[in-house]
Amino acid sequence: MKFTGWFTIVLMLALSTVAVAQEENEYDAPAEQEKKLELSGNLDVKYYMFNMDQKSAQYRLQFFNNLQSSSLLSQYKLEPYLNAEYRTSDLGFVLKTHASYYSDTDARFDLFEAYASFNPSFATTLQAGKRVYSWGKGYAFNPVGFVNSVKDPENPELAQGGILSASAEYIKSFPSGALQSLALQLIVITPDNLINGRYGELKNTDFAFKSSFLLWDTDIDLMAYYSKENQKRYGIDFSTNIKENIEVHGEFSFNRSLPRYYIRDNREVEEKVNASSYLIGLRYLGETNTTVIAEYYHSDAGLTSNEFENYNSFLIRSIESNDAAIIKQAIGINQSYFKSSALMRDYLYIKITQPEPFDWLYFTPSVYTIYNLTDKSFLVALTLNYKPSTNIEFILWPSALIGKEDSEFGSRQIKEKVELWMRVFF
């Protein structure tokens, strides 16, 4: 579709939302709106202890200048999150910031979100700025997360940065019948490939569209992502309760011209493929309040066993070259194209949470694993979460990566890790 066609659709949707808004003013907002500016945030203080796998290619690559250091390392990190929200019944401004501080010479600031919103009615909202979107029903992975920030399956609930965009959303509720509600969302995404850090080519503006339904007590989303430069993507997801204590969910996406990276003849290769990805999962609540989340995730675009072997060999050959330029190039390729936390094709994710065992209120232990079904390597972790008092949280989080030397998790630079978090909210 030509750009003018998309532009017409955006304009029509925006105009229709305003028109609908005018029809729906029977539930008027309070005549005198109270202005509300709220500040909030938290400080995460994190202490890590690592047992590094000094034989692994990843370690030797990342630490090639410091190979003589001990295998037991520690890290101290501060992460302040500061947020401001101003809201009236029809206007809003949201600012969410984040910083990472390791030392005075290594600190970084992130603008997670900064957007303005206008609600012409209860049913419609227009937003513009940098915003986080979260599409999909999966807990650890989201094949239909076309506009999502990159999720860390180890901590899917961590705040993330958004994308520069403008969006319009319209909601309609139906009082009776199988279809209980409908929501339409259109997002215009500005080009991310900038010239001189500021200018994007107009033709590289992307569009994403999602329609959501609550149909026969089932949440269903249909989504599409259109881009001239990037891949075109289509997806569907669902979530429903099949029993009073069992929820099932699934996602399927089909991607056209998806860029796929692998190593051939000791160099990185990019090819555009048509690939699908899917996820099926469930959430079970036991009688003693035990929650189990289990998900199977598949991605056609992931590396095969041979491709992963080639990738690992590439890293080893780069290190063994002892050539700083080659090693630097390998680090660059590794960080640009192989930084995903799930590089291969088939994974199983299982998380078991038992809130307040032995009547210990506000204490929640969880155990989870991400299991690579192809090479049988896995990550296993235990999180012990304790909120002894209001607005404070402690987390003890040991984890281990287990697998053969040439497997995905077995080849990582860390063998074991223990995290200690202290979080204070205001």
Binding site: S134, I171, S239, L361, T390
Partner: protein, 245 residues
């Protein structure tokens, strides 16, 4: 001959039981009506008290429409602020600001810890979820025995004490399907909330499963208010605070 006499007696017995149930269900509906307007907004505080005397407090803004829609926004503490829950009949979702999308949950789950669970906090109307029968009352109180209409209801059985003078709920005992007492809710401190609504402002909850712990739900305000249906949708959960007056 015996069968001929027995059959009419059976019919009379069943008819009487049916009338008795209808009467009890009518009283249950009155109890609901005396507790809450059909559509309202409310502010309430939930306090979890521990055996050592320490307390955890939450504040919620709640909106309800009809007998199957309720939504709730966490106002305090800061660690939970911005979370919201939505219930549409048997469907329930939790919205966490960092996750930025609604997640389906069950009414059995507790999202705040303590003795209250989602069903207690997101209670719709008793008469929607339960069938009632009269139990042995006292001079001052009716006793109703309630049985859940289906399996999605959190507590299989409830025993309910209702004052005869004003038909206000005074106490509820919640039982599992096996007959185990799960928790007791006591309704206290009658308060005039305006608009003709006088009801208990405090609900105190304790459970044999959490010995020494106690939870209090204190209603600060309850006001009749009409809402658009769209407020009770998943897409609205992230901006529920926009409608607060």
């Amino acid at each position: 001959m015996k069968t001929k006499i027995f059959s009419p007696l059976c019919l009379v017995f069943l008819f009487t039981i049916s009338l008795f149930a209808q009467d009890a269900n009518k009283l249950l509906k009155e109890v609901d009506d005396n507790l809450m307007p059909s559509s309202y907004e409310s502010y309430r505080k939930l306090i979890n008290e521990e055996p050592d005397g320490s307390k955890k407090e939450f504040t919620f803004y709640t909106v309800k429409k009809g007998n199957d829609k309720i939504a709730m926004l966490y106002l305090t503490p800061a660690s939970e602020k911005g979370r919201s829950t939505l219930r549409l009949g048997d469907n329930m979702w939790l919205y966490i600001p960092n996750v930025n999308r609604p997640i389906r949950i069950t009414s059995l789950q507790s999202v705040i810890g303590g003795v209250f669970n989602n069903a207690d906090i997101m209670q719709l109307e008793y008469s929607v979820e339960y069938d009632a029968l009269y139990g042995d009352g006292t001079d001052k109180e009716y006793i109703l025995n309630l049985k859940a209409k289906n399996k999605t209801v959190t507590y299989d059985k409830l025993k309910m004490w209702v004052s005869k003078t004003d038909k206000i709920l005074r106490k509820v005992e919640a039982y599992s399907a096996s007959g185990m007492l799960i928790k007791t809710l006591e309704f206290k401190d009658d308060k005039n909330f305006g608009g003709g609504l006088t009801r208990p402002a405090t609900i105190e909850t304790y459970s044999p499963l959490y010995k020494g712990y106690r939870s209090l739900m204190i209603y600060q305000s309850i006001k009749k208010r009409q809402f658009a249906d769209e407020i009770f949708t998943q897409s609205y959960m992230g901006r529920l605070g926009d409608i607060r007056k």
